[in-house]
């Protein structure tokens, strides 16, 4: 995780750049496959925020699918 929660709920800023994180297209690579997804990222340094909810939710389900579990 590269961001910290600030101001209103769901608004994050980059810990490194102190810039507000914005939603944008990111390509996630996993086990040789690329997936374009919409994630919060820092416009300045490009760090991407993956929240716990996201990591333990659909990204975990994607991993299990690709690992054929």
């Amino acid at each position: 995780m590269a961001g910290k929660d600030t101001q209103a709920e769901g608004v994050f800023e980059c810990l490194k750049c102190n810039m507000p994180m914005e939603s944008g297209k990111v390509t996630v690579s996993y086990m040789g496959s690329d997936f374009p997804v919409e994630l919060l990222k820092c416009k300045k340094c490009g760090f991407v925020l993956i929240t716990e909810e996201l990591a333990l939710g659909k990204m975990l389900e994607v991993e299990k699918t690709l690992e054929d579990k």
Partner: protein, 253 residues
């Protein structure tokens, strides 16, 4: 097609927003793999059964210079195809009753469509009839890697390839029983996994995707459990109508 729900899975936006116009795992990846194997001459007459909006017909004409035609029983998809590409040869017909003469085709493609047909056996007989001697049959489809889960899949309130999935052994038996020589089958389950991953990312989870496409008569979790039990995979089968020198059978996993 099954009649349990009004809108077939392949006609709806929840899946087509993810697959694009090819409406199947892998898009043209396995189509191209099959074409490399079959080596059709330019101008060869080929038929795409279950052509949907005609994406594969367009691919075969524009990129392989084949004399391709598509059939589909869905007026909705055909109309979208005609709007997308006026002049594309798309005909309204079911795979079980093809409007072509005997021995007219050099190749027949049925990509992720045999499993949505009312009678795969009748369709295979039609494929055989319209093919020339030594013509190629290219089938790609969802299959059940756990055949014990097939009966439960059939009962799901969905209209799509999953509910018609069979084991690969059953699929090959059906193709062989119609007189075809099965030349090759390859497992491409990885492509189905990638499509599933894209559906999860687009909809939040597979359970949520099932919620978008089912008639709500059973829970999304129940659908997901039934699907997981059958362990769906994806397969390419290449078969030949007899009439040329025999080639050795092979299997690639």
């Amino acid at each position: 097609m099954h009649s349990t729900v009004s809108c077939p899975l392949y006609e709806g936006r929840p899946i087509r927003d993810v697959t694009g116009d090819a409406i199947r795992p892998g898009g043209f990846i396995i189509t191209d793999r099959a074409l490399a194997f079959c080596s059709f001459a330019a101008g060869a007459r080929v038929l795409d059964v279950g052509c949907g909006v005609g994406a594969t017909v367009e691919h075969l004409i524009c990129n392989y210079h084949l004399d391709a035609v598509g059939v589909d029983p869905s007026p909705v998809l055909l109309e979208q195809g005609r709007r997308r590409h006026p002049g594309l040869p798309l005909v309204e017909a079911a795979g079980e009753s093809l409007p072509f003469g005997d021995g007219e085709m050099d190749g027949v493609f049925a990509e992720c469509t045999l499993s949505v047909m009312k009678s795969p056996d009748k369709a295979l007989a039609e494929f055989y009839r319209v093919l020339k001697d030594a013509g190629w049959l290219v089938i790609t489809d969802v299959y059940a890697r756990n055949p014990a889960g097939v009966d439960e899949l059939r009962k799901l309130p969905l209209t799509g390839c999953l509910t018609g999935a069979m084991s690969v052994q059953t699929l090959i038996q059906k193709i062989s029983a119609r007189g075809f020589e099965v030349v090759l089958w390859e497992d491409h389950s990885r492509l189905l996994g990638e499509l599933t991953a894209r559906l999860i990312l687009a909809h939040g989870s597979m359970a949520m995707f099932w919620g978008c496409v089912s008639d709500k008569s059973i829970s999304c979790e129940e659908i997901q459990n039934t699907v997981q039990k059958a362990r769906p995979g994806y397969v390419l089968v290449l078969a030949k109508k007899p009439g040329s020198s025999k080639e050795g059978n092979c299997r690639h996993d």
